[in-house]
């Protein structure tokens, strides 16, 4: 299946040295993430979509666990005929992946029989199983929220003795930490439970449309399929409600451009009953709707709205102003639904014959059946659950800092999860013995060194792929699992010849505009965005939606055309190019850029 390494080859893993100043980065990750000599024979590509940044040691869990789950589903539960799971490696802090394709026809046939039985069961009972899924995922969220981070006191609580619990609280350090990891693992199994089957339905419809309409873009297919996605839009809807309430309670004057959340909250506290009512409404909205991460749920530092109010408070002044101006901000779901139906019916009418129309109806119907899952699972999994998960880990970091093992709570994210268990054992022992934790001397230099390494790795430009190019990536299941097609690889191969003024990505939302770029290093700078600017950032998370009203176009380093950010951009009718991999490093604030959302090209004009 693979050509020998020759002209059509990317650098080999073994040829890549440690980034300057980052020697020893390997110690941040488990041994099974390291490239092996024989890996030079295989094709790997950089998973920039999920892992656009250097992975801190703890955040290694966000590749380790998802890949245990997704592969288990495709390879061992549903028996996808042509693919097992994904293998991953880490190189200079970046995740590279490859899929294990099944190529032996006899084995494919065997797996197909099982696939039909197993996947068939899920498709045939989809709606009922999906209800069960929602109950299971909500139960998991309740469990993670209930995990207690123990408080170690001079003496354990009297009730532990009088209730004859039988074990002291230091025991719970490891048990409860471990529960967080276990629940996170379970969450990921549930995350991938329906996902590949859902994508399968989508890919089938997409291929059908491509055959019937060779020039159709995936945006258009997505527009026919997309549901009203109530879940991912709800945080934005909550903000609009809060803005309306501010106007109603005569608090609009407090919401002005550039206002810092803490100061706005303080000012609200001085506005008597009206201020109190608004603050109560805010608390009400927060749980769960502010548990949206400003990223995609793969990095601990992509905080949620509930951790940091910067994003929602940057959006509120505009909503307040619009509501005062008499604007109706209600999401026009009826019009959107009608438009979706109109587009689908017009494409259907252009098909050749009744047979083909009947096949179109079947495939579109199946897509629309599976799509509510594809759209809403992200809020439950990557946002709500993951926000709670990182909050718990941060609290364990607080405990380690209180006990002097770490200098500060955030440092916990520079330890691997297995190392956190070691550090907790240290605390368990010290509390039990009446001695002192030994971790300060051990962990704090390691944390300092890793902070330095992460900074050094950040400057490294990862090659888009490694190893010999496969002859053809034409298996739909492998493409689906990878998110990479032949065309993608060809673009990467031609990467060196590309104009340095051009940044390429996925065409996420149509339209062409020119404007002045505003490059945001982090979401905390969101208040800097001015009306009509082109937003350039690492991740355009759905939670940034509210600021979309202000900008002319969006460009991101990561994301695909089916990402929520892309769907939100389309709904705002704003051009977007996502998944460029390098927009934030190539474009500078103040550059004039042209964003071509039809072709996925950003041109730096000067």
């Amino acid at each position: 299946m693979f050509q020998s390494a020759g002209e059509r080859s990317f650098p080999l893993p073994s040829q890549i040295a440690a980034a300057a100043g980052a020697e020893g980065w390997e110690s941040m990750y488990p041994y099974f993430t390291r490239f092996q000599p024989e890996d030079d024979q295989r094709f790997w590509f950089y998973n920039a979509m999920h892992f656009p940044e250097v992975i801190p040691a703890f955040d290694g869990i966000t590749s380790e666990i998802p890949y245990t789950a997704i592969g288990a589903n495709t390879a061992r539960l549903f028996s996808f005929p042509t693919t097992m799971g994904i293998e991953y490696r880490i190189l200079n802090g970046r995740v590279y992946i490859t899929a294990n394709a099944v190529t032996d026809p006899a084995r494919i046939q065997e797996r197909l029989t099982d696939f039909q039985e197993r996947a068939g069961h899920y498709y045939a009972n989809w709606d009922e199983l999906y209800i069960g899924w929602q109950q299971r995922i909500e139960a998991l969220i309740a469990e993670i929220e209930a995990v207690e981070v123990p408080r170690l006191q001079e003496l354990d609580d009297l009730s532990v003795v009088t209730g004859a619990r039988g074990y002291a609280t230091n025991h719970l350090l490891r048990e409860n930490f471990h529960r967080c990891v276990d629940l996170y693992s379970k969450m990921w199994h549930h995350h991938t439970e329906f996902l590949m089957l859902g994508y399968g339905a989508y890919v089938v419809f997409f291929e059908f449309c491509r055959n019937a309409f060779p020039e159709i873009g995936d945006q258009m297919v997505a527009r026919m399929v997309a549901g009203m996605d109530v879940t991912m839009y709800q945080p934005d809807e909550e903000l609009k409600k809060l803005a309306a309430l501010a106007v109603e309670l005569d608090l609009a004057d407090l919401f002005v451009e550039g206002g810092e959340p803490a100061k706005v909250l303080a000012a609200l506290g001085e506005r008597g009953d009206a201020g109190a009512r608004w603050l109560a409404a805010l608390e009400e909205a927060k749980d769960p709707w502010f548990h949206v991460s400003v990223g995609d749920g793969f990095y601990h530092h992509h905080l949620s709205w509930s951790d940091d109010l910067t994003v929602p408070f940057a959006a509120l002044p505009r909503y307040v102003e619009q509501i005062r101006g008499g604007a109706d901000l209600t999401r026009p779901t009826k019009r959107l639904a009608e438009e979706r139906e109109r587009i689908a019916q017009e494409y259907r009418a252009l098909l050749g014959g009744d047979e083909e129309k009947a096949a179109f109806d079947q495939m579109l119907g199946l897509c629309r059946q599976v799509f509510p899952y594809i759209e809403s699972h992200k809020f439950y999994c990557e946002h709500w659950f993951t926000t709670r998960f990182f909050q718990k880990i941060r609290a364990f970091g607080g405990l380690l800092a209180d006990r002097g093992v770490l200098a500060e709570a955030e440092d916990v994210f520079h330890l691997r999860h297995t190392e956190v268990e070691d550090a907790l054992a240290d605390v368990q022992l010290a509390w039990a013995s009446g001695g002192t934790e030994l971790g300060a001397r051990h962990w704090q230099p390691i944390v300092d060194e890793r902070k330095r390494i992460v900074a050094a790795l950040t400057g490294w430009s990862p090659p888009p792929a490694l190893g010999p190019v496969p002859e053809a990536l034409n298996d739909p299941a492998v493409q689906m699992l990878w998110g990479v097609t032949d065309e993608t690889v060809q673009t990467w191969l031609g990467g060196n010849e590309l104009d340095e003024k051009v940044v390429r990505g996925y065409a996420a939302s149509p339209g062409v505009v020119e404007g002045v770029a505003r490059v945001l290093e982090s979401v905390n700078e969101i208040g800097q965005i001015r009306e009509g600017e082109v937003l350039v950032c690492a991740v355009t998370a759905p939670s940034w939606g509210p600021v979309f009203g202000k900008i002319a176009a969006a460009v991101s380093d990561i994301g695909g055309t089916m990402s929520h950010a892309a769907i939100v951009a389309r709904e705002y009718g704003m051009p977007a190019v996502v998944g460029t991999g390098q927009a934030t490093t190539r474009i500078r604030t103040g550059d004039r850029v042209r964003v071509d959302g039809d072709r996925g090209i950003v041109t730096i004009l000067g």
Binding site: T82, A124, E471
Partner: protein
């Protein structure tokens, strides 16, 4: 659908013609009448019918028929000489008075309605045959632009008739054994549009056959520059469903066709520098053209190949005209061969057949 015009009137206005009138008005004439019925703006005009042709040939028909029948398609020299003589005969024979009067009256009425004496018109042959090969010999080359004056119109009508006796046309009939008695031709006389810009549209992609897009080529001046390939036109691809312009290529347009300053015919000239790299149609005009194309396609029920023009003088909103529309033929044949997916027993069976290890060639 209305009944065909059964009369043998020598001249019929576009408004009185429909798609079933091919026998009397020819394909082009019938199509222009039909477009008008569909509510599409076409430059006004009339058709000199096949009845007029037969009247005009009258006494000549027997002699001409005999001479053609006596020709050998293999004898190129004699064929060329004989057909030249026949054409001379047809062009110079004065048409019967009722026919000449009807053409002159039709032209006078058209000029009066346009409010312009000696109105410039296009005179084009309009073949009755559905055989596209024959039509291309007998008609398509015969287009005379920017003709004006009643007598000149009449002269050009006769030239169109004479074109039936071109070497190619006669050879074709002889080789196919088509009898001369079946011969008929109509001629379209149509007001010229002083075109600021013009071009062609396909209501499917000429490259991929995709029926969800409209491909539009446009350039400055008269459409003959685009149709004749004298200029690389601006090119646009528009999504039918959303109206979005999905691709736009603005070409450097160096040459244009304009009416000859002498008053007759057209000349090729250089496009002024300041216009060369400017799009020859704006988005609003593209949107209107696309809307018209969709209406025409829906009216005929199949993809169309359309010629259009944007008037230099008419006000916006009334300045877009169609000059011609005919069924697209290239992809129509390929459609029949394209694999069409059939419905499955259960919707998710489609997933099984796709993910079940189908390995396209090269895998």
């Amino acid at each position: 659908m209305s009944a065909p015009v059964t009369s043998v009137q020598p001249v019929l206005e576009f408004a009185r013609i429909g798609r079933d009138d091919v026998p009397s008005a020819g394909g082009k004439g019938a199509s222009l009448g039909e477009l008008l019925r569909a509510g599409v703006r076409v430059p006004d005009g009339f058709v000199v019918t096949t009845a007029a042709f037969r009247d005009a040939m009258g006494v000549l028909a027997d002699e001409v028929g005999r001479r053609v029948a006596g020709l050998d398609p293999g004898d190129a020299d004699r064929l060329a000489a004989e057909t030249a003589e026949i054409r001379q005969l047809v062009e110079s024979a004065p048409p019967p008075t009722p026919v000449a009067d009807a053409v002159l009256a039709g032209y006078a009425r058209l000029s009066a309605e346009a409010g312009q004496p000696d109105l410039p018109v296009a005179v084009r042959s309009s073949a009755t045959s559905e055989d596209s090969a024959e039509a291309s010999f007998a008609g398509l080359q015969d287009t005379y632009l920017w003709v004006h004056g009643g007598q000149s119109v009449l002269d050009h009508v006769r030239r169109c008739w004479a074109s039936l006796y071109s070497v190619e046309s006669v050879t074709y009939r002889l080789r196919r054994g088509i009898p001369e008695t079946d011969l008929a031709m109509a001629v379209v006389v149509q007001q010229m549009v002083g075109a600021r810009s013009s071009g062609v549209m396909f209501t499917r992609s000429p490259q991929t056959g995709d029926r969800s897009v409209i491909a539009l080529d446009a350039s400055w001046g008269l459409g003959s520059a685009v149709v004749g390939g004298d200029v690389t036109p601006d090119s646009f691809v528009v999504n039918k469903v959303t109206g979005e312009i999905v691709r736009r290529t603005v070409a450097t347009k160096t040459c244009w066709h304009q009416p000859d300053p002498s008053g007759h015919g057209i000349v090729e000239a250089e496009v002024p520098t300041q216009l060369r790299d400017v799009p020859s149609v704006d988005d609003e005009e593209i949107a209107e053209l696309v809307a018209i194309a969709r209406r025409v396609e829906a009216h005929y029920g199949c993809p169309q190949d359309i010629e259009w023009a944007v008037s230099r003088t008419a006000p916006r909103g009334e300045n877009v005209f169609l000059l011609q529309s005919r069924p697209e033929t290239v992809w129509a044949e390929k459609d029949a061969a394209r694999h069409q997916t059939a419905p499955a027993a259960r919707p998710f069976d489609h997933v099984f057949s796709m993910l079940g290890g189908r390995r396209p060639s090269g895998g």
